[in-house]
């Protein structure tokens, strides 16, 4: 009798423990929102830092491009002045240089719009990022393609037009005796 009482008591205690464990498991989805949220925030912070790094790289690239263009433009302007002072007809080069200058401005504008977009993405909160990240990245990629096209246009215009104008003027310079 006493033994069966002990067994029954042990069973009751075991069942009570199992029920408590089951309740605890049922409550877990609600409690997990904390760690899950934390994980999402950490992941977003990692992505945000990568975006900041990407912006820094693009800024360095843009500076290199702007410096190179400034150098080339300065030399072409100086050449134009020199040739003009010597009495050569530089009207075509002058006109084309103005067009080229417009291309530099376009590159600068498009690049600024692109970086603004990246900064907009980096400024999102984790909650905002959940809904908008991918669409904003898609927009940024579109803007990046425009910037790249501007760079290609600048290069092509140099090769096909500015360089050709300079060579045309070169052919008018008398050969050295």
């Amino acid at each position: 009798m006493r033994r069966s009482c002990i067994i029954a008591g042990a069973l009751v205690i075991a069942m009570a423990l199992m029920t408590t464990a089951a309740w605890a498991q049922e409550e877990q989805p609600g409690q997990e929102e904390g760690p899950l949220q934390q994980r999402l925030e950490q992941r977003w912070e990692m992505i945000r830092q990568r975006i900041e790094l990407v912006i820094t790289r693009f800024e360095n690239n843009e500076e290199r491009h702007a410096r190179a263009y400034e150098k080339v433009k300065g030399k072409v302007e100086a050449f134009l002045e020199e040739m003009s002072a010597k009495g050569y007809d530089v009207s075509k080069l002058s006109q084309d240089l103005a067009t080229w200058d417009g291309m530099f401005e376009e590159f600068s504008r498009d690049y600024a719009a692109f970086v603004d977009k990246l900064e907009e993405i980096a400024g999102l909160t984790p909650e905002q990022a959940k809904g908008r990240l991918m669409s904003l990245i898609k927009e940024a990629r579109g803007l990046l393609r425009t910037v790249r096209q501007d760079v290609l246009d600048i290069r092509l215009f140099y090769q096909q037009t500015i360089r050709a104008d300079i060579q045309e003027l070169r052919n008018q310079v008398p050969e050295a005796a």
Binding site: R50, I51, K71, A78, L144, R145
Partner: protein, 84 residues
Amino acid sequence: MDRRYALRRAFAVPAMAVLLLALAFLAPSCGPGGGEEGGGGSEVRIESREDVDALLEDLDAAMDSVDADDFSDDKLSDGELGLE
């Protein structure tokens, strides 16, 4: 007298070192090729066709120093952004 001489000497050696270091840093930035070559103030002298050829070489090198791929799609790929 000896003490004053020793003191003067103790100061003279580091002062000379500082002066030499300052000169070493100043020299490259004051020379004709020193400093960064900026876009403004470019001087071009054209006396012959060779001068134009040299100018074109210079311009080609500057244009070749940058690449459109600095702004290629892969610079903003999922991998670069840590989205993979």
